[in-house]
């Protein structure tokens, strides 16, 4: 596994692993959120598929393992679908917002959140997305998706949100 604090490794194995989109690992609460996360979506009409639970484009949050920046294999197809959408929609722009759970220091978590967003950007770029169409930022542990503590909550907070 790629340790995010260590020198960045290039995604190799995970690029070729398929699978369907997964809920956060070790988590029961994820089911209540499902694919309905709407963070950051603008008022304009959503692109086709964004609100269709059967479309991978409805999945716009990638969840990560503790202290990891590797994209879990189960999200590869989701990100490929986003890459195809962005690649075929010249006007599309996506902001990748990286987040962490609250464990660890705030400054290291800012760096870890950025590392997660960078990993997703690197994947999208490898899938042919133009540099001008994808931005990154990190909020570290400062903007948790869920308040509270415990693994179920932390799993929901270790994430990259794709914001179009």
């Amino acid at each position: 596994m790629n340790k995010p604090f260590a020198p960045a490794a290039i995604l190799v194995a995970s690029l070729f692993l398929g699978g369907c989109a997964a809920k956060p690992t070790q988590d029961g609460a994820a089911a209540t959120l499902g694919g309905t996360i709407t963070t950051g979506l603008a008022d304009r009409a959503p692109p086709p598929g964004f609100n269709d639970p059967n479309s991978p484009l409805s999945q716009r949050v990638i969840y990560f393992d503790y202290e990891q920046s590797d994209i879990p294999p189960s999200y590869i197809e989701v990100l490929r679908a986003h890459a195809r959408y962005i690649g075929t929609t010249p006007k599309a722009k996506v902001m990748l917002e990286g987040h962490t759970d609250e464990r660890g220091t705030r400054e290291l978590n800012l760096a870890l959140g950025e590392d997660r967003a960078t990993t997703v950007r690197r994947f999208l770029r490898a899938e042919g997305v133009a540099e001008s169409q994808v931005g990154i930022r990190s909020f570290g542990e400062e903007k948790p998706a869920q308040p509270g503590q415990g693994e179920a909550v932390w799993a929901l907070n270790r994430r990259v949100e794709l914001i179009y």
Binding site: P7, L110, D115
Partner: protein, 449 residues
Amino acid sequence: MNIVPPAILRRSSSNPLVTMKIFLRFLFTILTSLVGTSQARLTIEIVGGQEGAQPIAVVPFGVEGGGVPPEDLANVIANDLARTGRFKPMPPQDMLTRPYAADQVDLRDWRLLAMDNLVVGQVRRRPDGYYEVDFALFDVYRGEQLANMSLPSSPADLRHTAHRIADIIYEQLTGTPGAFTSRLAYVTSEWGGDGQKVTLRVADSDGFNPQTIVSSKDPILSPAWSPDGRRLAYVSFENRQTAIFVQELASGRRDRVASHPGLNSSPAWSPDGGRLAMTLSRDGNPEIYILDLSTRALTRLTDSPGIDTEPAWSPDGQEIFFTSGRGGNPQIYRMPVTGGEATRVTFKHDYNGRPSLTPDGRSLVMVTRVNDQFRIALMDLTTGATRLLSRGGLDESPSFAPNGSMVIYATQYNGRGVLALVSTDGRVGQRLSQDLGEVREPAWSPLPR
């Protein structure tokens, strides 16, 4: 009044349950109207024992010509001394006599009560509206007067004058300068009708006189005092991007000193106040840079493919300590501020970060992970010996008192963010919390010059 908001109010959330949110906002409006404005003060609670604390009597101060002083100076002094864990002030109701001038003192009274030391004082009003605050400190057993001074004070500064007296007493009795006139910077997070409100505040070392430095709907973190105590550097997410600001406290004037693409974080002042070390990821991954504040020249210090962040200066200004992931997990390293080889400092445990040096440069405090618990640890830089100062859970952001006697850090209590203080000998602890909301990111000011 002590109203603790339900858990859901405490943190920002993108929970889609909009109706619930509206209800909670309504509920919150009621809570805030009960509690009042954002001038919420930190309240301090002493936790842990005070074994071996020296008994001292601080007699309630008198007023020349009779009456009660406008500020209970003796109480401020006694609380300052008690918070260090080294003194155990006598409750005023247990005092048999209440002298307030040196010539009224009969030390036999205080020997009977087994007091090591005695403080008496009085306030004299001057014709110009100012006060003179007289006080005397006695060694009860030796029968010696250790100090006898008179400090002028404006009516608004009486609390501050009490802190100065506590500083003098502390130094007389311990040989170490007191830190009671120093101040605390901290970040609070509260929920209001229009969402989360994050505020950078500065208060006296006892939590009184909180002042708002800057307020935002977006995160604020990493406050850092300039060595002269007149400015704060901090990281703000205004416009959803990190930027480092330097703000002058007296005027409120602020300057955005770093807003590069990527992260702008972890500002740390050089001891001479002329430079800021910081973390920027503008070159692709987080590295440490030094910004010269007068020329605005930016020098990159580190060059490693992993994360480098959380710079801290050695007190002599010659070295930068920082956290790096270059070895596979976060550890603390040191390197000359002029560049060169980085040397690893920490080896125990697989997560060590956020270093901060003691004023004498001999040890550092850091966040360390032990058995999945994040705890504050003190490390002797000569011997490498490490001691845990906090019980852990989610402890972070340690900052030394300017006299090196105590460490303040952020922790969780009953699921809520609070601050905690611990003496570096681990003997005494305190908890600082606000009635409402979370408190975090403490930074202890230097001693006023």
